[in-house]
Symmetry: C2
């Protein structure tokens, strides 16, 4: 690493630069210009753009050069892979920095989970910055693996790469001045606090912004987006696997509001990452919707750097990191190659060097389940009238139904319409066990179990017979967390997620393939209509007691509208 | 001061706000909109804009409301008054925050001078933020009152209201990696460092930006401005008393580059402050040149807040300071009234309450002059060929002339064309004394002396006879610094600047009036053509050895192009 004095002499051209990229069309995110010139680099830092010669020279042949992209808000856990494996797929997509909220793993493992992600993302070419999860557990109506109050988070506040407080989903807690929430907000008042407030408008939004919350990635309308921007917040336009807001929101970008807009993925599954990329997809959608390509790049680079005060990121200018994307086509945002620290790291979709993290941990955490017998899965009913969770196609909102369900000898009997939903505490082996009846999933002759069950990530199981449900639970224990599909007592497919029951230690490709096999089995063997719902995603949200209307946690059936547990007997 | 919980309830409208400004047209600097609504306020903080009712209500009658303005770079000393008196003139002009570089007073008094300004600006309604002077002394070719290296500045780095390192005028020192300069730059690499690099372009500018310097207020062309912006720097468009760049530079503002532009005054004299205001003048010029009024306001508010990371400043939004301007006319930027902390502080140009600083100091520093006799002012010459400082009308650049000057008995004799210029060390009473011959000033039958003599602020005296020169020096000692005009042995007018010989303890009006009398005497009694030069400004720059070509310091005649002292004998 050269010192500043040597770099200054190289920048002036009095000494040959260590490395020069000749013939670049540099995207200037500060004033929307394209600058034709050479990029001089030393020690991983850009010295300047101009007419330079270098000890080492690389001809960029007049191609456009964009700064590397920043994903403004992402849960690494949704990629189902380790930071190292995620880096392998993000880097060729031009993403060199992510603002990650380890909310899921913290719900399973608490501070240990955050520490694991910090360690597992050290020394990667992908710069992983951490927002400390603000809502662990998400609610008081379920058993999670941890409970993090401000005192816990405070210990990590000054850790390297920790930027601030993660998405404050408990917006009712904020605007109702919940003590535990206010402690966190006031404790992080000197840092960035991310928001999460779908649909909040008017005075409630004023109160939310007043509290010091600076961003929101939950906008689904231009009105929501603009109101947040007027309130001084930054808006992260999201394009993930299930929540896709870019198509609508990018139409609301103007020259006047764009300095307050970022791009993010939030939750993106391995298959989508492989097929559509990361926030480069958001850029493409924006450009397709008429946004100036340089503005789209600005949003994905310098804006995020400004929002999170990331020095040296987001531009091609003196003193900035030599992390950039060479583009084959700027309008279609086709990536030729990616450079990190001035070194080519990928070409096309192919990585050119090995990426390794500091840690080799292949498994973390243990699925602990209280001893169960087959009979535990029986649902006893007083009559055939029961409270039933009704699934709507392609929606996370459920209906609270009261239906006549099939009952034999006082015991619920699943059929083509009604099946069983089970949630089993898995963090401390507690005797906590929720049972419910679900309609609209359509599972036949089998069972699906998963340890991805938002936000506490207990074991969630759906099935039409107790033997397969039991077998699925056993398999989850065997693989120490993950997703499994069982039919006729036989495991058809599994995706082991040995890291906290959330992430695989395999590659993105392997993980995506295993997930495909799981989905195939669900579709082909269990007869689930995967067009009307994503079975794993849908199952994973049946336990989240903050999305209306009827949900199931390990503590029982939860009526979200009434905010209380209810009996299965209607 | 209400706590956050109470404010949140008021923002939600669940509780009456303490104070509501009804019927406002709020300038939204985040997305260039005008929002019709009420502004709710509590404890000096904006709670939100919407439909609010308050315990106290003020009807703004549909007038436009802009955030208070920020002067991005100013030397308080150029106003010739104390921070308190400056506040009295800035506040009615809508300026509530200034980024001040106490470079002048630091050259006279060192750290004590900076401490004085910090103390004298405490508890004012004007928020004075300090950039620590980077270039004290400005050069090694003169005696200043102090020499500040990084170790000295470091002690003040973490003081409240200290933001970073002031304008790095020694740009040759930066790009040539001068050790003392690099120490400062590296020592402030975690803070904002202001720049000052007139005319620097291309690779030299790359090197300057690479060093970490973030701003520049010395641009005089759009080309210079745009190149700085492309290099990631912020540009402060300046409109001061002598340097006026707004007319040209505001024509270069576009929707694409404006997020990197600020407004500043740099150096503005009391008369101009009274007649033209502060950066509100820059706004008017920008609007006149076709810039959207909201963009012009954006530049003078949120942009400066972002550049200097000033939390809670520069916008009307939840959590921001309730400092705003009510406008009679947004296009002409006519100010109706100004509110600080939600309280009306001025109406029209009239202040509504007393402004007092924490300190009552009326005088600081002592003019110390080595004992002089009248004969000391004689200039002995070997022949009548001498090196002469040639003044150009309305320019700070001087000519290095070799002329035949009037000589009697080997002694220079001033006439209508050639007069005497004297610089006397005044900080430590040293026997350091520069003498020169000057052409183009045109002073007759008298003398002018001043302790404003950039950048070391020794005593500079011009005159056509030694008696008046001596008398002017004596008067400067009597008034302990300031400006004086003498003719026929009689003091015609004086402006005492008892604070470091730079600032008056009087009001802006008094100071402006006294300065007017000084100028009148110069024009009427000494016959100086004040249309072709501002005599005080011109005189004050004759000692600055960084502006070409020939200058005089207390150490002698200095050839700036050759960067060395020369003899007066040619």
């Amino acid at each position: 690493m050269k010192n500043l004095e040597e770099k200054i002499l190289m920048a002036r051209g009095l000494r040959k630069s260590d490395l020069v990229f000749k013939n670049a069309k540099v995207v200037d995110v500060f004033s929307n210009k394209i600058i034709n010139g050479d990029i001089a680099v030393s020690g991983g830092i850009i010295l300047g753009v101009g007419d330079y010669s270098g000890a080492d020279e690389i001809d960029l042949e007049g191609k456009f050069v964009s700064p590397c992209l920043i994903d403004g808000h992402v849960h690494i856990e949704s990629s189902m892979v380790t930071p190292t494996e995620l880096a392998k797929v993000l880097i060729p997509n031009g993403v060199a920095t992510i603002i990650a909220d380890p909310h899921e793993i913290a719900n399973v493992l608490g501070i240990d989970g955050i520490n694991y992600l910090l360690e597992a993302s050290e020394n990667l070419p992908l710069d992983v910055r951490i927002m400390l999860p603000s809502c662990v557990p998400a609610t008081d109506f379920e058993h999670s693996g941890a409970n993090l109050v401000f005192k816990d988070l405070e210990k990590l506040k000054d850790r390297d790469r920790v930027l601030g407080l993660g998405e404050m989903m408990n917006y009712p807690g904020v605007i109702n001045c919940d003590k535990v929430v206010m402690d966190k907000i006031e404790g992080f008042s000197d840092r960035v606090i991310d928001g999460h407030a779908p649909g909040l408008l008017g005075k409630a939004l004023n109160a939310y912004a007043l509290s010091g919350i600076k961003t929101d990635h939950e906008c689904s309308t231009v009105e929501e987006m603009n109101e947040r921007i007027s309130n001084g917040m930054y808006v992260q336009i999201r394009q993930g696997t299930s929540a896709k807001n870019a198509e609508i929101l990018t139409k609301g970008i103007t020259k006047d509001n764009l300095s307050r807009i970022l791009f993010c993925t939030d939750d993106k599954h391995p298959k989508d990452l492989l097929e559509k990329g990361s926030v480069n997809e958001n850029i493409k959608i924006a450009i397709k919707n008429g946004i100036d390509p340089i503005d789209a790049i600005k949003i994905a680079t310098i804006n995020a750097a400004k929002c999170y005060d990331l020095k040296g990121k987001g531009a091609i200018a003196p003193g900035y990191e030599a992390n950039f994307i060479v583009l084959d086509d700027i309008v279609k945002f086709v990536i030729d190659s990616v450079y990190i620290d001035g070194k080519k790291i990928s070409e096309g979709k192919k990585l050119l060097r090995e990426i390794k993290s500091k840690t080799d941990i292949k498994s973390i955490g243990e699925v602990k389940v209280h001893d169960r017998r087959l009979e535990d899965f029986e649902i006893k009913l007083n009559s055939n009238r029961a409270n039933v969770i009704g699934i709507n196609p392609n929606e996370l909102l459920t209906e609270k139904l009261v239906e006549e369900v099939p009952v034999h000898d006082g015991v619920f009997k699943a059929d083509d319409v009604y099946q069983k939903l089970i949630v089993i505490e898995r963090h401390n082996g507690l005797d906590s066990f929720g049972k419910g009846i679900i309609k609209g999933f359509g599972i036949k002759n089998g069972s699906i179990a998963s340890t991805i069950a938002h936000d506490s990530h207990n074991i969630i199981i759906i099935g039409d017979n107790d033997k397969d449900i039991y077998r699925a639970m056993e398999e989850i224990k065997n693989i120490n967390g993950g997703i499994t599909v069982v039919s006729n007592g036989e495991v058809l497919a599994s995706l082991p997620l040995e890291i906290a029951g959330l992430m695989s230690s395999g590659t993105v490709e392997e993980t995506s393939l295993k997930l495909e096999k799981v989905l195939d089995a669900i579709k082909n063997n269990l007869g689930v209509n995967c067009k009307s719902l994503d079975p794993i995603l849908t199952l994973g949200f049946m336990s989240l007691p903050v999305i209306p209307n009827l949900k199931l946690t390990d503590e029982g059936l939860f009526d979200v509208s009434e905010f209380k547990f209810i009996d299965i007997n209607a």
